[in-house]
């Protein structure tokens, strides 16, 4: 368990392993089935990729260019569960993927999904880790040993009976990494595995990649500083193919694809709020308890002082499970608090009143968009206002769609993730809230797209609280920063 010392493998075994290909893809083409009138564009065309056994590969690709699809194809679950047309040859450790079922690959390859929530099958953390080991038919002693080691290594032993809905995003990702470690397969596919993790766990994952004897394929949409010297080969998914130019050219091209070479949209913005408004929290105290575990004392959120003014851009940083989301839910009136006050322009508010002042953009946009067309989504809130005539609603909706680059006739369910995120922001833009909380806006978006959304939301002079794990992104936006650790918030 944990990173195995590289010297533990005998040289003979090493040479045998190094001759084998962990992954071999030749001329892969894939197109998702389309259910509407529009025919889906192909994701890959003539893609070829080889990964040597025991090597560490980083495959960079901008968001929405097929990283997750590729990972699911390699695991044998696409097109099986995500219908599409697949052509080409794929082999994992010599096994032709067209002839094997996903469960047969359990001891060969493990996949950590970008969205950890979608991979949970059991009802508690320890059951989640144990489930694949039961499938492998291991003895109870062996299962217990592996479960204990993995939980301890990923700091989850106190959360063993917790269920996935009680975990933060980072904790969920750690559960999946613990599962991967417990299975101990030869080939690990890690899709944006560094996302959601705070620095401590990123360092641990790096160490695991660096010192372990596994074949690793990391799919990432950001080139992070910590990737330096970690991988044997760095590749780029560009133009529906995998390419491998020299590192300098590769990073330059990747930067172009991610639009990182464009100017920061916030640099040119002059934010002049028509009215100065202020949100102030004083001595705020709240308590949360995980229902499914007795091992943890109730979690307390304490905010001695917090302010957010119109036009301000404030970041909130903190490790996994430190209380960022709990604080956000209190701030937008979704959850109550035990003591202290939240004031907007000097008036103490709570619950419903607060939710009409503070807009909260969830990390998952699909929980906030629910109507058949973009036009329906954008006009839903406006139509409930008695002070607006239909002509004015139409004008506002068209202007908003234009601003966020949306087509009014599009169906949200079939739109790409960045467009759904833009739609979610557009909905809130029309609500004209004086304050917004943006929860991990940068996750699964390019910096440029995320910054453009912030710029648009600030057009009316709103004050914005941005929650992020990405230091590089925080540096591009921050004016002031708050940090939260073990539920206690303080200004940096």
């Amino acid at each position: 368990m944990g990173p195995s010392p590289s010297g533990s493998t005998s040289s003979l075994a090493k040479s045998r392993v190094s001759m084998q290909k962990a992954l071999s893809i030749t001329n892969l083409s894939f197109t998702y089935h389309s259910y509407g009138e529009n025919v889906c564009d192909s994701i890959f065309e003539g893609l070829s990729l080889e990964v040597e056994a025991g090597s560490k590969t980083l495959l960079l690709a901008p968001f929405d260019k097929g990283k997750t699809t590729l990972a699911k194809i390699i695991c044998g679950v696409c097109p099986k569960y995500f219908p599409g047309t697949l052509e080409g040859n794929l082999k994992v450790f010599g096994n032709d993927l067209s002839a094997v079922e996903p469960w047969q690959l359990l001891s060969e390859c493990t996949y950590v999904s970008q969205n950890p929530q979608e991979q949970f099958v059991a009802n508690s953390v320890e059951e989640e880790v144990a489930f694949p080991l039961e499938s492998l038919g291991l003895s109870q002693e062996e299962i217990k040993g592996r479960v204990e080691a993995a939980l301890k290594h990923w700091g989850l032993d106190r959360l063993r009976t917790s269920s996935s809905q009680e975990l933060s995003g980072g904790e969920r990702k750690r559960v999946l990494l613990a599962v991967t470690e417990a299975i101990d397969a030869r080939f690990w596919i890690l899709d944006e595995a560094f996302d959601d993790l705070d620095q401590k766990w990123r360092d641990q994952l790096k160490e695991l990649i660096e010192k372990g004897n596994k074949t690793i394929l990391v799919l990432a949409s950001r080139y992070l500083a910590e990737f330096d010297k970690l991988f044997d080969q760095v590749l780029l998914l560009d133009g529906k193919k995998v390419v491998s130019p020299v590192r300098k050219e590769l990073l330059c091209r990747f930067s172009q694809l991610c639009q990182d070479d464009l100017a920061n949209p916030l640099d040119s913005q002059v934010c002049a709020p028509p009215v100065m408004r202020q949100l102030v929290c004083t001595d705020l105290v709240a308590e949360r308890r995980r229902m499914s575990t007795l091992e943890e004392a109730s979690f307390k959120v304490h905010v001695p002082h917090f302010t957010l003014q119109s036009g301000e851009l404030v970041t909130l940083v903190g490790p996994n499970g430190s209380g960022k989301s709990s604080f956000s839910r209190i701030l937008c009136g979704l959850d109550g608090y035990l003591g202290g006050s939240i004031q907007v322009d000097g008036s103490a508010l709570s619950g419903k009143e607060l939710s009409k002042k503070v807009g909260y953009l969830f990390q998952n946009p699909d929980l906030q968009i629910f109507l058949p067309t973009v036009q329906d989504e954008l006009s839903w809130s406006l139509r409930r206002r008695r002070d607006l005539k239909s002509e004015e609603i139409r004008r506002k909706v068209e202007h908003c769609a234009d601003l966020f680059g949306l087509s009014l006739s599009d169906t949200p369910a079939t739109m790409s993730y960045p467009l759904r995120k833009a739609l979610q922001a557009a909905v809130y833009y029309l609500l004209e809230r004086p304050f917004y909380i943006l929860d991990e806006l940068d996750s699964a978006l390019t910096y440029h797209t995320a910054l453009s959304i912030i710029r648009d939301l600030r057009q009316n002079g709103a004050g914005i609280l941005l929650i992020t794990h990405d230091k590089q992104f925080a540096k591009r936006v921050e004016q002031r920063t708050y940090s939260i650790e073990k539920g206690r918030l303080c200004a940096l």
């Binding site: 469960w103 991979q119 009409k356």
Partner: protein
């Protein structure tokens, strides 16, 4: 898409053998349909709620009752109009609106509904899902069938959880000038919330199927088990105790 219904605790029910709990719930479901007096029915429901309060706390009871309240109200309000027999209690002109028989049946139906729902809720609140699975397997249910049963019992709370998350997000989208909503508007708002909760739940099905297969579900090899029920030392005593209690309740409250 898995939701944990377990509420951590150390009470009596947590130490009760899962096999006995499972059997008790099944027998209770049958018991509620036996010809027992209304007082007897509600006494058993009351004892069940008391047992729940001791083990999982009042907040869990409140949460359970709030979640079944709309369905309960719907049943209790409409049932009396469907039964036309018996002494008339409320009449409009020559038209009988509510009869004594209709009212009695509505109250009985509500008691049964509360009892069965709460017994099942209590089983899953005091037993971790893997032990429910082991209890099902102890009664010779095949693993795959057991998994389907446990998944079904987590899928309903998953839809409920998705519904409440989506309802929360909808409440965040209310316009600033919007005042207290009328009942009609509230009902109208339920439609998109329900639709999106169902769409969300349906979209999770391929993900669950994918994840189960990636975790080795489907392998021909015999599955082993991380847990067993050996820590419960007195299964037969507990089963016997459950059966005796139900027989006593039957003897006490049956309609003579």
């Amino acid at each position: 898409m898995t939701i944990n219904t377990f509420v951590a605790g150390k009470g009596l029910l947590y130490r009760f053998d899962p096999r006995a709990k499972l059997l008790s719930v099944l027998l209770l479901c049958i018991w509620f349909f036996l010809p027992v007096s209304l007082v007897g029915l509600y006494t058993v429901v009351g004892l069940l709620v008391l047992l729940g309060a001791i083990n999982t706390g009042f907040s869990h009871i409140a949460k359970t009752f709030l979640s079944i309240l709309p369905m309960l109200l719907f049943m209790v309000l409409f049932m009396p109009f469907n039964v036309r027999d018996g002494e008339s209690l409320v009449t409009i002109g020559s038209f009988t609106l509510i009869t004594a028989e209709g009212l009695e049946q509505a109250v009985r139906l509500a008691g049964r509904f509360i009892g069965i729902t709460y017994a099942c809720t209590l089983l899953f609140a005091t037993t971790v899902m893997q032990e429910v699975m082991l209890a099902l397997r102890a009664f010779h249910l095949p693993y795959k069938a057991g998994l389907v049963v446990t998944l079904a019992f987590t899928y309903i709370p998953f839809i409920a959880e998705s519904f409440s998350q989506i309802a929360e997000s909808h409440s965040l989208r209310e316009a600033e000038s919007e005042q207290g909503k009328r009942i009609f508007q509230r009902l109208k708002d339920l439609v998109p919330t329900l639709t999106s909760a169902l769409v969300f739940a349906l979209r999770s099905i391929p993900n669950l199927a994918m994840s189960l297969e990636l975790r080795g579900f489907g392998r021909e090899q015999k599955r082993t088990s991380y847990k067993d029920l050996s820590s419960y030392r007195h299964p037969f005593t507990h089963i016997l105790l459950s059966c005796i209690m139900l027989v006593v309740f039957w003897a006490l409250f049956r309609v003579r």
